[in-house]
Subunit: 232 residues, 2 copies
Amino acid sequence: MTPRTSPGDRRPSGREPSSQGLRVSIVEDDRILRESLAALVGGTTDMEIVDTYPDAESAIATIPRRPPDVVVMDLNLAPPGSGRKSGVDCVAAIKAALPGLQVLVLTVYDDADRVFEALRAGASGYLLKRAHSEEILEAIREVHVGGAPMSMQIARRVVESFRTDRRPAGELDMLTTREREILALLAEGGLYKDIAKSLGLSTSTVRVHLHSVYTKLHVQTRTQAVLKYLGR
Amino acid sequence: MTPRTSPGDRRPSGREPSSQGLRVSIVEDDRILRESLAALVGGTTDMEIVDTYPDAESAIATIPRRPPDVVVMDLNLAPPGSGRKSGVDCVAAIKAALPGLQVLVLTVYDDADRVFEALRAGASGYLLKRAHSEEILEAIREVHVGGAPMSMQIARRVVESFRTDRRPAGELDMLTTREREILALLAEGGLYKDIAKSLGLSTSTVRVHLHSVYTKLHVQTRTQAVLKYLGR
DNA sequence: CTCGCCATAGAACGAACGTGCTATGGACGA
DNA sequence: TCGTCCATAGCACGTTCGTTCTATGGCGAG
């Protein structure tokens, strides 16, 4: 997605006196990229570099003691097979320690799984490395003022993940009130026995209702019924 | 929004000759806003208005017969109490008929529920009406090329909805790769037999792994394991 | 009033599930 | 090399689940 507002396009015609800039730390294993990112950020008048880290471990150890406003995080910190921490792990650890810290993820990956993992871990923005320098700087500013900058392709994936083709809803509508009630309890994971007890019924009755539920939902097992109930 | 006079003057020719522009329809109950949006879009060189609709009903009836590339949809089409269709209903109906059509939602609301309802219904972008004219035009173009333009505040809400404080993840991390793999299949709802077949294992092995899964997740039944796996 | 639907409940039975054992072989670290 | 963990697999046993019957009573539509 694209920034819709540019809140701080201030250009105070000179150098900032070191203090009040947007403080940024960078976690990136590739030295070249790490230094060029640092130079990019350091070259602005409104941002400054706090620290840079070459791996997740050092970032997790130090960032809580030297918290910046925004962390720019490479997702691909360690090869998949290695025992080392990934960028996703690093995001999760940092957000656990500093929930208010904003994390902007920067990656070559645009595969959906990694996007969602990172967002679940607490990233607030997600840019592909192919983004231009200006986009990266603008994204850092945007994430700092409460936005969620994402590459266009990423944003679309995120939005589409909300898409719910709920034809199961049509099937769920076929259920009677009692059946839905029992199905809801089934989705809590308890035994038929427990469901019966909590509704003051016999297990026979529970079985009858659930049999009807299974028929109407066209499923054969308890798990399948629960999955349909939850919208898979 | 502010219909500020765009520098682009209208085309000298009265009618468009089957141009290859981006075709846009507008659904908006407020006449003033509807017309100013139409003028805004019509004033560009790369877009043209197909139709405008004052309510959901007419849009649902006609859009499938005169499909544009992008629909700009007001979410607040009818007062809450009235029996009339809302913008969310309209999005759902239109996407059901034309799944490939892109819908850009435009609304004064920035409350979270409505955002998610609209996205679930199939909207691809979500702008607040307070957006500037240029932002609206840019969003229409972006939604057409596969993006998901959102106001900054909306994007942040969407991203935050992914945030999962996964304490279950702690337990899921205890699982071996094979165990996770089998658990994932368990969550598809098939029998042990099916899981075994799809992995080329015996059902005994599947049982062994799942027993280990149950122990590590502290659950006793299949359904409970699936619920934990799904983060419920 | 009868018919159909819903909710209730019991019995019986086979299939699926969960647990308890034993056992083999590969990988990896101490 | 030894110990540990993991993946594989079989067997036995009891529990839970899903199906198929039958049966009673309430309630609304025709």
